[in-house]
């Protein structure tokens, strides 16, 4: 195929969106319907990889769609950070679809056509967020993402799902309208531009207090990054089917949040300005508190998905810290952690879903001895946990290494201590699950247990992401280069 890079960029946003038509049309034939989903996923991933190659060769890929208000429109432009996010999301969409086939059928979920349709729209929105060239475009797709995932969160249609959906939509929409939109309009008024620019859009003589206030608005307004006190939506979203929790609430939605924060820090404020803003320090500590508190809360959760949700909040805090540290190491660590955490956490969620559909268990206290029944799942859980904790052979080792470097460089000793304590807490709340799975408190009769794993598609999916966690440890070079390219953009890292 000889498509121009610009066409590929537009395709990568349009493909999943228009796949909805095919998904609805084939709704009565489940095999065909899932075929459409996977086919679209593969095509999308192909587009993104082609774009990645183009970007590596130094192409400047940008497209303008519309101009809504003079100076404001829907514009796309590819840069390394967005590329990273798009690669992760499009790749994991394929895997999650494979997983979902096993999960949704085994679990006898209703309204699967609706499920796959909104899933595709959400992916389309993620691509829009990843490739947005300015804040306005980012905001539009950010909102589309919120609205399109609402039907997924409330999928079960029960009172509990409805209550969860209310919290989900309530927090995400209100923070985005009240703070995020306000921050965008303020930026527009103060700087006169919303385009993501290397080195930031604010003039050198900008009022620091005002810019600091705008930064606060951004960090609170991007509710998807789940900085306390606006984190409640994430545990609430756990009423969704597990594939949704896995892709959207460990990868797409939450990463759209931290990705937006990263973008704002690097391309709206610029790390030089960020370092001298009065509110940065406060926000860093707030993120630190979020990391610590949510780790502590995670320890007290007996529901596996709830524990993973709080763990996600804590790990998102790491990435926000990376962005706010305003150093090269922080940006590298934070960006890498977007990828590392994505693969680790999606594996954990896949495992949680596998356990739920196969053994019917959602409480951690009931999972003792489960390792002998579901050995592959539990081993995968173990490896992915290591990656989240940040020890070899998990890819998370690298990102946490850079984050710690960042705290040292800026002499944020308190934050350094927080990150280390949190890693210990990670061990305490994640590792007992697989360990007790194989070595329960009360000895059990192993011969009575037969191996009974999750459906094959699901098992394949979770094995694949586990392998990816290890591969990212052994061979992190491409990822590192991509992240390094963010800083190589002229103007980004001047002051370092």
């Amino acid at each position: 195929m000889n498509l121009s890079l610009e066409t590929l960029l537009q395709l990568s946003i349009a493909l999943p969106f228009f796949a909805v038509i095919a998904i609805v049309a084939t709704g009565r034939k489940p095999n065909l319907r899932e075929g459409v989903s996977i086919g679209t996923g593969l095509l999308l991933f192909y587009c993104v990889v082609m774009l990645y190659n183009g970007l590596k060769q130094g192409a400047d890929i940008q497209v303008q769609w519309l101009e809504i208000i003079p100076g404001l429109g829907i514009n796309f432009r590819i840069e390394p950070l967005g590329m990273l996010f798009a690669l992760i999301a499009s790749f994991l969409w394929i895997i999650t679809t494979v997983y979902a086939i096993g999960y949704m059928r085994k679990h006898n979920e209703v309204k699967q056509t609706r499920f796959y349709s909104f899933f595709a729209i959400a992916i389309s929105a993620v691509m829009g967020v990843a490739f947005a060239a300015d804040l306005f475009t980012l905001f539009i797709f950010y909102e589309v993402l919120t609205l399109s995932t609402y039907p997924l969160v409330t999928h079960a249609g029960t009172d509990k799902a409805k209550a969860g959906g209310r919290v989900y939509l309530g927090i995400l929409l209100s923070t985005s309208i009240l703070f995020f939109l306000m921050a965008i309009i303020s930026t527009w008024m103060v700087a006169g531009s919303l385009a993501f620019t290397a080195g930031g859009v604010f003039a050198g003589d900008v009022n620091l207090v005002l810019a600091g206030a705008i930064l606060m608005l951004f960090v609170f307004g991007i509710g998807k990054a789940a900085i306390m006190p606006f984190h409640r939506w994430l545990p609430a979203a756990m009423v969704a089917p597990t594939p949704v929790s896995a892709l959207l609430h460990a990868v797409a939605v939450v990463k759209a949040g931290v990705f937006s924060i990263m973008k704002v820090c690097v391309f709206i404020f610029g790390i030089d300005l960020l370092a001298i803003l009065p509110s940065t320090q406060f926000l860093l500590y707030l993120a630190g508190i979020t990391v610590l508190l949510s780790s502590l809360i995670a320890m007290r959760q007996d529901n596996l998905k709830a524990r993973l949700a709080y763990s996600t909040i804590s790990q998102l805090g790491y990435i926000t810290i990376g962005a706010l540290l305003a150093t090269s190491a922080g940006v590298i660590g934070g960006s890498m952690h977007i990828a590392m955490h994505a693969f680790g956490k999606i594996t954990l969620f896949f495992c949680a879903g596998a356990i739920l559909v196969t053994a019917g268990k959602s409480k951690i206290s009931e999972m003792q001895g489960l390792g002998w029944q579901m050995p592959v799942t539990m081993i995968a859980f173990f490896i992915a946990s290591l990656s989240i904790i940040g020890v070899p052979p998990g890819g998370g080792t690298w990102s946490k290494w850079f984050l710690l470097m960042g705290t040292m460089e800026t002499q944020q000793w308190a934050l350094m201590v927080i990150l280390m304590i949190s890693s210990l807490l990670n061990i305490a709340y994640l590792l007992p699950i697989p360990l007790r799975g194989f070595f329960p408190k009360d000895s059990i009769d192993r011969s009575a247990i037969t191996v009974n794993e999750a459906p094959l598609p699901s098992l394949m999916a979770l094995s694949l992401t586990t392998v990816a966690c290890v591969v990212l440890f052994v061979y992190p070079q491409p990822l590192y280069e991509l992240v390094q390219a963010i800083l190589n953009t002229p103007g980004v890292a001047n002051g370092q």
């Binding site: 519309l66 809504i68 208000i69 306005f136 905001f139 539009i140 909102e143 609205l147 409330t154 249609g157 409805k162 209310r166 939509l169 309530g170 929409l173 209100s174 309208i177 009240l178 939109l181 306000m182 309009i185 303020s186 527009w188 008024m189």
Partner: protein, 491 residues
């Protein structure tokens, strides 16, 4: 072409009695649709003419102003005329189907006659450059509106219409008293003349009193908090088509009058410098937004929910006016256009529900997400526009309104405006949750999608909500032009 300003008023006026000769409802409907379509075409031509060549002054009967009546079309009223005639035309498309279940066929002829009369009145108010003429047309449009509301199937419609009659008459009388006092002081009724002569006598108590009468009278008609009490019941118990028409057009005309009197006739410096109108409007506008939105949250009748929401939206427009800058005024003007599209779409969707269910109580909406997917989707999209989600017209209004506030240094107001959107989320989501998450009622299990006759006009407006949210040339540029013109005249 030269007679366009009067043609668009005369056309529905002459057509209204003709309706009575055409006995068959379907025929009358077709006739009325043709008339409104023509009126809309004329209004588009007027907008083109105004934007290219400037203000059009038309002397009625060839009598030169200020002795004769002058029709004066500038960007401001051309814009509002387009909104009013356009929305009336689209809403009327749904009338035939919707009335089948809401009005006996022998009264439908009267309905169309009254509808056209009401339209005549509104277009007359918008087109005329003569203060007394405003009062005449105001009475035409109001009296026909009272009768239209009273046609509602529910017996309470009579009471609602009566309430509106009392309040509306008080409002109209106040306006008349105000105009009379102005005439006493200046000896003229022509608006341009008034604008020239009023400053000479601006410091007299009579002018203050006349200003107060006019503003209060107009605010009664536009349902500004706390003068809004007539509105919810009038909207809720009128026939669905009438509700859609009133919500999309009649308050907009009143807002236009307010702008015309405060900015053109009395002048900016009198209204905003001599008198503290800006603070008054700001406070009442914001109170309107919050009180009405909060009331909307607690309503059980969906028409009531959207009626209270209309009062809140009027609040936004008043806040925009209160800033006293061109940016604020143009934001209000955009919201006139945008709100007409949102509420037109929402109330037409409700007309569809009314057609199938016979009521619009919230509890009857159970399960409608499945049974009437297109109608409910229309409510969702219209609702998102009401909240102000990007890519809908609602976002455009919110954006310009907030920018206008910040430009003026009113940061807290900007935040309050955004906060108001959150209340809109709550009252809309109550409807969405009931429609999509509850199993249908026993007696509603056989309900089907609304008929095409209602569905098509509804979706025309829904798509317009999205289209004008993306292509903002018409709603933004003309509104800005109109606002700048007003500020050019009265710096």
């Amino acid at each position: 072409m030269a007679h366009l300003p009067i043609l668009q008023v005369i056309l529905p006026l002459l057509a209204a009695p003709l309706c009575l000769f055409l006995k068959r409802p379907k025929l009358v409907w077709l006739f009325a649709c043709v008339v409104t379509a023509l009126t809309f075409t004329i209004s588009v031509l007027l907008v083109q003419q105004v934007t290219s060549t400037g203000v059009i002054s038309y002397e009625l009967g060839g009598w030169a102003p200020p002795w004769g009546i002058e029709y004066r079309i500038d960007a401001l009223n051309a814009f509002v005329i387009m909104v009013v005639s356009g929305l009336s035309a689209v809403v009327l498309l749904a009338a035939r189907t919707s009335l089948e279940n809401e009005l006996s066929s022998n009264r439908q002829t009267y309905f169309y006659a009254l509808y056209l009369l009401s339209l005549t009145g509104m277009l007359g108010i918008l087109a005329t450059g003569d203060a007394f003429n405003v009062f005449v047309f105001l009475e035409i449009s109001s009296l026909s509106a009272y009768a239209l509301i009273a046609m509602g199937k529910d017996r309470r419609a009579l009471w609602a219409s009566y309430q509106y009659l009392i309040m509306g008459t008080i409002g109209a009388t106040f306006i008349l008293i105000g105009i009379g006092l102005m005439y006493q002081m200046t000896g003229t009724l022509n608006m341009q003349d008034l604008a020239e002569r009023l400053p000479e006598v601006a410091q007299t108590r009579t002018v203050f009193v006349s200003f107060a009468f006019v503003v209060v009278g107009v605010c009664l008609k536009l349902a500004l908090f706390p003068l809004h009490l007539w509105l919810p019941n009038a909207y809720a118990y009128a026939p669905s088509i009438v509700t859609a028409m009133l919500a999309a057009t009649s308050t907009k005309v009143a807002i236009y009058l307010l702008i015309r009197f405060t900015f053109t006739v009395f002048g900016l410096s009198f209204s905003f410098t001599t008198l503290p109108l800006n603070i008054l409007f700001l406070v009442l506008g914001l109170l309107g937004v919050f009180v009405a939105s909060t009331s909307a949250i607690y309503q059980q009748n969906v028409k009531h929910i959207f009626a209270y929401s209309s009062i809140a939206q009027v609040g936004y427009m008043i806040v925009g006016i209160s800033v006293g800058t061109a940016a604020g005024l143009s934001a209000s003007l955009m919201h006139i256009f945008n709100h007409a599209l949102m509420k037109g779409a929402l109330f037409l969707a409700l007309a569809g529900v009314m057609y199938r269910l016979g009521n619009v109580q919230l509890k009857s909406f159970q399960g409608l997400g499945r049974q009437m997917p297109l109608t409910m989707a229309a409510i969702v999209v219209g609702g998102l526009s009401l909240i102000g989600v990007p890519l809908t017209v609602g976002f455009i209004s919110k954006w310009y309104l907030v920018v206008a506030m910040i430009e003026n240094g009113w940061w807290p107001v900007a935040i309050l405006i955004l906060f108001g959107s959150l209340l809109a989320i709550i009252y809309l989501w109550r409807v969405v949750e009931v429609a999509y998450f509850r199993a249908p009622n026993k007696d509603n299990e056989s309900v089907k999608e609304a008929p095409l006759g209602i569905l098509i006009p509804t979706w025309i407006l829904v798509l317009a909500n999205v289209y004008f949210g993306v292509d903002t040339r018409i709603n933004v540029q003309i509104a800005q032009m109109a606002a700048e013109n007003l500020f050019g005249v009265a710096p």
